[in-house]
Amino acid sequence: MSTPILEFRRVSRSFGEGRAAVPVLRNVDLSVNELEFLCLVGESGCGKTTTGKILSGLLPPTGGRVLFEGQDVSTLKGEAYGRYRRAVQIVHQDPYASLNPTQSIFDILRYPLLRHGFAKNHKQAHTRASELLELVGLTPTADVIGKYPHQLSGGQRQRVSIARALTTQPKVIVADEAVSMVDVSIRISILKTLMKMRETLGLTIVFITHDLALAKYFAWEGRIAVMYLGRVVEVGATRDVTGRPQHPYTKTLLSAIPEPDPDRTRRKEQLSLRSEDVPSLTELPAGCTFHPRCPFFEPGRCDREEPELEAVPRAESDARVACLPLTEDGTLRPYGG
């Protein structure tokens, strides 16, 4: 397999110092392959946004290494760093906060185009900006280009945000909950735009969401990484992870998604968590951090050693999971059963 375009090796990130430090990511291994559609899924506070920011170089890790095309980004300097910088762009969640209210749409697109030489002058920038707006479906472009963000709707703003990310001709776009604040009716169309970009421009997309159903629908050809409390607990092809979930956490998440057919929903295997409370990041449980809530908790085993991502023996799925009973025995036993 070729070198991943982006790779995490034992990446950790904590906020604050000393005793007050909050570990948001702990020893995360993750690779993003060229041209793939990777979904990061997890509850709020699981570290998926932090992962996105570290991937795009907006936040340095406090431990581990981030590789871009096989090179450690912390060693990149000058033009090599600039190339990485421009190659990974981010699309934010809130379309009302991600555009500077004092700049016109043209300004927003013009600055990066001119700065990085994608346009030599004002006129070229205008032509290029119009092309980008057309690409993201904001037509007629002449109506939009001179406007200010507050004159656009949420969906239109999000498209501008995508167009801005495209100005530097990136290879990877990290879309952080990019549609969760847009009207449901417009979500699909924006997502389809993103999918089209991926094909026509040859983009790699890292899609961060809390909505497993959305991930299942859009990343069907791609992969899903499920995160829990700062770690990746299951990663694999979408059809494996959503069709034959292995990790207890993935299982409980999927069992919570209602199916379009009510009969199937009712027949679905209902897995209930042993506790609704997500442990605090400052007082993480020992061993597997999921064990206080896990329906398959094995006392004396799961609360000792923290599991690593490994393949499950004899499973139909190619996914790798972080769960000792699974990776060592290949089976799960219900707690107390």
């Binding site: 604050g16 110092e17 000393g18 005793r19 007050a20």
Partner: protein, 357 residues
């Protein structure tokens, strides 16, 4: 916004009783307060002594004018009367002053020989505290009530009119209001006799809880208090209005409405309490400002409080008295800030001060 409180604290020291004492809120606040006061004392001490002329020069000039003495004679007489040695180095004076201060001794006044600065302050400060305190209390309560009222009826004619009025009140300096009141109501309309209202109470009365004395004090304090109220009311109204407006948009207020709570209860326990919170910090800042500004107001109304005493001391270059007043103002600002913090944290459970957990 207030979560930063817990984040900006110093990093924890090594464990042990000492670190627990130092990081406990009360001790840290006290240390910080003492440090601030020391800094103010030091800064003003040297600044004051940099002023041109010293108390002896000023008094020599006075003696030469008054009793036709020669410079030499006047100097001798002045030097014998003052407890001030112009030849001691400023740094020696500073160390001596700090030493006395630690023992609670503010020294003796340089120009009013034999008078303790503490006594002078005790004589003038209560009047200022009385006027400023009463004025701020009235305007705070009035401003919060009016501000909340117009926030409930925002964008109505009432709101527009009152907001405009409040802006005008706040825009015009308080002493300008004082002059206006003095000239229009006192002199032109003759509603009160300004000449009689000089000082803090009518001469000839003995202080005590007699109706005559209290009435006299109230009459003399009326104009300064009125001016303090007018000078601060506008900002309370506008601040309370914007604070209430933002609280009214909060979900918990809507939920309270949906729960069918009475408007009166929502206004007091939900809106009023939360909207008033940010104003307490402002109150602390205001106390310092108003005491500082009392110099002009007291000079204007010839009211013998700490402000006019300070002005007198400055013109006489009475170093120790000036120093004493600066100290008192700094202490009152620091204390007001601490009180505001305490009040804030007792009203807002989100701000539990570090060390209480």
């Amino acid at each position: 916004m207030q979560t930063s409180k817990t984040l900006t604290g110093p990093p924890p020291l090594e464990s042990g009783w000492l670190s627990r004492v130092v990081s406990s809120y009360a001790v840290r606040t006290l240390l910080q307060a003492l440090l601030t006061i020391w800094a103010v004392v030091t800064f003003t001490f040297f600044l004051i002594r940099l002023m041109p002329g010293n108390p002896i020069d000023v008094y020599v000039g006075f003696l030469m004018n008054q009793s036709n003495l020669t410079y030499g004679e006047a100097l001798q007489q002045a030097a014998s009367q003052f407890s001030f040695d112009p030849n001691a180095s400023v740094f020696q004076q500073y160390l001596g002053y700090l030493g006395d201060l630690v023992r609670g001794d503010l020294g003796t006044s340089i120009t009013s020989t034999g008078t303790q600065v503490v006594d002078q302050i005790a004589r003038f400060l209560p009047w200022t505290l009385f006027c400023v305190g009463l004025g701020l209390l009235i305007s705070f309560v009035l401003g919060m009530t009016i501000g909340m009222l117009i926030a409930y009826y925002r964008n109505s004619v009432l709101d527009t009119a009152v907001s405009f009025f409040a802006s005008v009140l706040g825009a015009v300096p308080d002493y300008i209001w004082g002059l206006l009141i003095l000239v229009v109501f006192g002199v032109q309309l003759g509603w009160f006799n300004i000449g009689e209202l000089r000082g803090t109470y009518d001469p000839g009365l003995t202080p005590g809880f007699t109706p005559a004395f209290i009435w006299s004090v109230v009459r003399h304090a009326f104009l300064p208090v009125l001016v303090y109220v007018i000078g601060t009311l506008g900002s309370w109204i506008l601040n309370m209005r914007s604070s209430t407006t933002s609280v009214l948009g909060e979900d918990y207020v809507n939920v309270a409405r949906a729960r069918g709570l009475t408007p009166g209860r929502i206004a007091t326990t939900y809106v009023g309490r939360n909207a008033a919170l940010p104003l307490f910090t402002l109150l602390a800042v205001n106390i310092g400002l108003v005491i500082g500004g009392s110099v002009i107001i007291e000079e204007l109304f010839v009211y013998k409080g700490i402000g006019s005493f300070l002005f007198f001391s400055i013109s006489q270059r009475d170093y120790t008295s000036m120093q004493g007043v600066f100290l008192v103002i700094a202490v009152s600002v620091v204390v007001a800030n601490i009180l505001a913090d305490l009040l804030y944290s007792s009203l807002d459970p989100r701000v539990r001060i570090e060390g209480e957990r």
